[in-house]
């Protein structure tokens, strides 16, 4: 016979059991945390040559880490959540996105920006979060912020041009060895272009290489008159633009006025390859020449295969070298740094762990004391007809 006790007690027990199960599961769920990371790159637009590949590489790394079950920090398991808006290279848009990332999403780790004008726009705002945020980008303009008071949030993931490990210094030395006496610079009339001119002018002058410098507005398509003026000075090499968007037009039009030697520190070898029938030498700093590295480096081969499978598109060999900055490797480095620091929220500890690290991924990456990246790289020369010479350099 069923008493009233049974009628009440059994459902109550079931309810208690179910409740404890639900709360137990909830307890297990809270034991797994989420680390939000942001992206602040141009994924479309003329400057996307710099931002698309890094943002794609970050996404791949996040997916790979999460698929592997996440990572453990101080006994707690974490996964990553990526919030990566497209800045389109627009500084105002990037500033709004940075505010959303920091204020609404409470992100503490941001990959990017690659563009100096975007960094200049977001930097004063992000500075308010100094000590609570890391902004890990490749922008040339970040160099000046490193080591400055209240700028601890800056980590520059792109190596610097000058100094003992500077690729720019090494490349200018390469020109000296070739007996180059005169170089013409043709650069964008903006923050990025002026920064490049400021960096390289002393490098060339210290080596007694004569310089002729001209600037152009970023929307310029016809460079013929400026190139003719530069060509009249008979430079040995032309050092043009910092984006492929301009380089394609410049290289094509320069070759038409008889300038066939190019020196590139920012951009791909694409413009050189496209105009290979008309140029003699196109020397470019390429963080990694993927076409060759894919055949000799298993990690690179895996990355290329994973990329094709993930995005279901052909691998962008021309843009892939941009993955040297704030990209695939850097997400794994951040996770390793969190593990070593034993925290995901104490940014100064994570930064210290990051700067103490030497990571071997697609690149061999480490940071100097100020937070600037040092990595191995390639210098590629495209010669007439498309023949390619690659020099691998491992900075000391």
């Amino acid at each position: 016979m069923t008493t009233w006790h049974h009628k009440i007690a059994r459902p109550a027990l079931r309810l208690a059991g179910a409740t404890s199960l639900v709360f137990g599961l909830a307890g297990a769920a809270t034991a797994q945390g989420v680390v939000k990371i942001g992206g602040l790159e141009a994924q479309t637009g003329p400057a996307s040559i710099f931002g698309l590949m890094p943002s794609q590489g970050v996404r791949m790394a996040v997916e790979e880490i999460n698929k592997g079950g996440g990572f453990d920090v101080a006994g707690k398991r974490y996964t990553l959540q990526l919030i990566s808006p497209d800045t389109q290279g627009n500084p105002q848009q990037a500033l709004v996105q940075a505010k959303k990332l920091l204020e609404e999403e409470k992100v503490q780790y941001i990959f990017g920006p690659y563009l100096t004008n975007v960094f200049n726009a977001v930097s004063p705002y992000v500075q308010q979060y100094n000590g609570k945020v890391l902004l890990m980008g490749g922008a040339t303009g970040m160099h000046g912020a490193l080591g400055k008071p209240n700028m601890d949030f800056v980590i520059k993931t792109m190596p610097w041009d000058t100094g003992s490990a500077g690729y720019g210094s090494m490349m200018v030395d390469l020109l000296v060895k070739r007996g180059v006496k005169k170089v013409a610079i043709l650069m964008q009339n903006d923050a990025g272009g002026k920064a490049v001119v400021d960096i390289y002018t002393p490098l060339f002058k210290d080596r007694n290489i004569e310089l002729i410098t001209e600037f152009f507005e970023a929307n310029t398509k016809d460079f013929t008159s400026t190139l003719a003026k530069l060509a009249a000075a008979k430079p040995d090499y032309l050092f043009p633009g910092y984006t492929d968007t301009s380089l394609y037009d410049i290289v094509r039009q320069a070759s038409e006025v008889g300038m066939t030697h190019f020196f590139i520190t920012r951009g791909s070898i694409g413009p050189g390859m496209k105009n290979a029938a008309m140029i003699d030498s196109y020397i470019a700093w390429v963080p990694k020449y993927f076409e060759q590295a894919e055949k000799t480096q298993p990690k690179v081969a895996k990355f290329v295969a994973d990329y094709k499978a993930f995005y279901k598109t052909p691998f962008p060999y021309d843009q892939a070298p941009q993955c040297a900055t704030s990209c695939y490797d850097h997400v794994f480095m951040l996770v390793e740094a969190m593990k070593k620091a034993g925290t995901v929220t104490e940014v100064p500890k994570v930064k210290a762990a990051l700067l103490a690290m030497q990571y071997q991924g697609l690149w061999n990456i480490r940071y100097d004391a100020t937070g600037e990246s040092i990595l191995n790289f390639d210098v590629v020369e495209v010669k007439r007809g498309g023949k390619i010479d690659v020099t691998h350099i491992e900075p000391k």
Binding site: T44, F215, F216, E217, T224, S225, A228, Y248, K274
Partner: protein
């Protein structure tokens, strides 16, 4: 130096023909419909993307791609005219607002279709012509000749055919033209679409010379307006000359002054000419 200046004179003329064809479209549209169609730059961009897509992606021969791009742009022009500009005839402000809105819509459509990544067509006609030390890329020379022929042909059609005379009559006195049997609505739509076609053709040929992106047409429509004002609104032949003057001012200015301010040299030329001739080089002072 003489060679450098001569070379840039030629280059200025070539670049100026591109400004000129847009200027011709602007001056025609304004003369007949009473609006300044800023969206001509967007139609130019559409022509350029169509030409690039049909040549590089579909694999059509470039001349066929240019013809198809021209037709596609004109079809877009018909749609824009019937859906939008038909309602803004002789209303400068409304026409301006509609054309600015249309630019946003067209640019967004181009971005959605072909992304924001700049595109570059393969070499259609590689190589250069060398005459007495002067160098002219073959394709640039060919494009300039085509554009010159089209603008001069337009001028001839306006002055030597019944339709052309009807257009002139309408521009001078719409009421009288209507009473003389000119089908004014058809004329306005025809001129609007023809102007769009000029911009589309300019864009289709432009794509064989330079890389293209969704916003490049904006620069050309501003140059076109400068050229049309410089020439004096209403003069098709003058629009071509205005474009060439702008191109030459920019090219020659870049030799003697910093190239970074190239756009300013054209503007200074415009201001100087307007100071001397306020109605423009070929404009009617009234």
């Amino acid at each position: 130096m003489t060679q450098l200046i001569l070379g840039q004179l030629i280059n200025g003329v070539i670049v100026g023909t591109l400004y000129g064809i847009v200027a011709a479209g602007i001056t025609l549209t304004f003369g007949i419909t009473g609006i300044v169609n800023f969206a001509l730059g967007a139609f130019m961009t559409l022509g350029a993307y169509m030409s690039w897509y049909l040549t590089d992606r579909v694999g059509l021969a470039f001349p066929l791609a240019v013809v198809l791009s021209l037709l596609a742009t004109m079809v877009a022009g018909v749609v824009a005219d019937q859906a939008l500009f038909r309602h803004t005839r002789n209303n400068l402000i409304n026409g301006l607002l509609v054309s600015i809105g249309l630019i946003s819509v067209m640019e967004a459509g181009i971005l959605m279709t072909w992304t924001a990544t700049p595109q570059e067509m393969h070499f259609v006609l590689p190589g250069v012509l060398q005459v007495g030390g002067l160098v002219v890329p073959k394709m640039k020379g060919l494009v300039a000749l085509i554009l010159l022929a089209v603008v001069l042909g337009t001028y001839a059609a306006l002055t030597r055919t019944w339709i052309g005379r009807a257009a002139f009559a309408y521009a001078q006195n719409p009421e009288a033209a209507r009473l003389m049997g000119v089908r004014t609505r058809l004329l306005q739509s025809g001129v609007f679409v023809y102007s769009v076609g000029l911009a589309g053709l300019g864009g289709a040929l432009y794509a064989s010379l330079y890389s293209i992106d969704a916003g490049f047409g904006g620069t050309y429509v501003l140059k076109g307006i400068e050229a049309a004002i410089l020439a004096g609104i209403g003069s098709v032949g003058g629009a071509l000359i205005g474009g060439i003057l702008l191109g030459v001012a920019e090219a020659i200015g870049s030799i003697f002054l910093p190239a970074a301010y190239k756009d300013a040299y054209g503007l200074v030329t415009l201001v100087l000419i307007l100071l001397l001739k306020p109605a423009g080089l070929f404009g009617d002072r009234k």
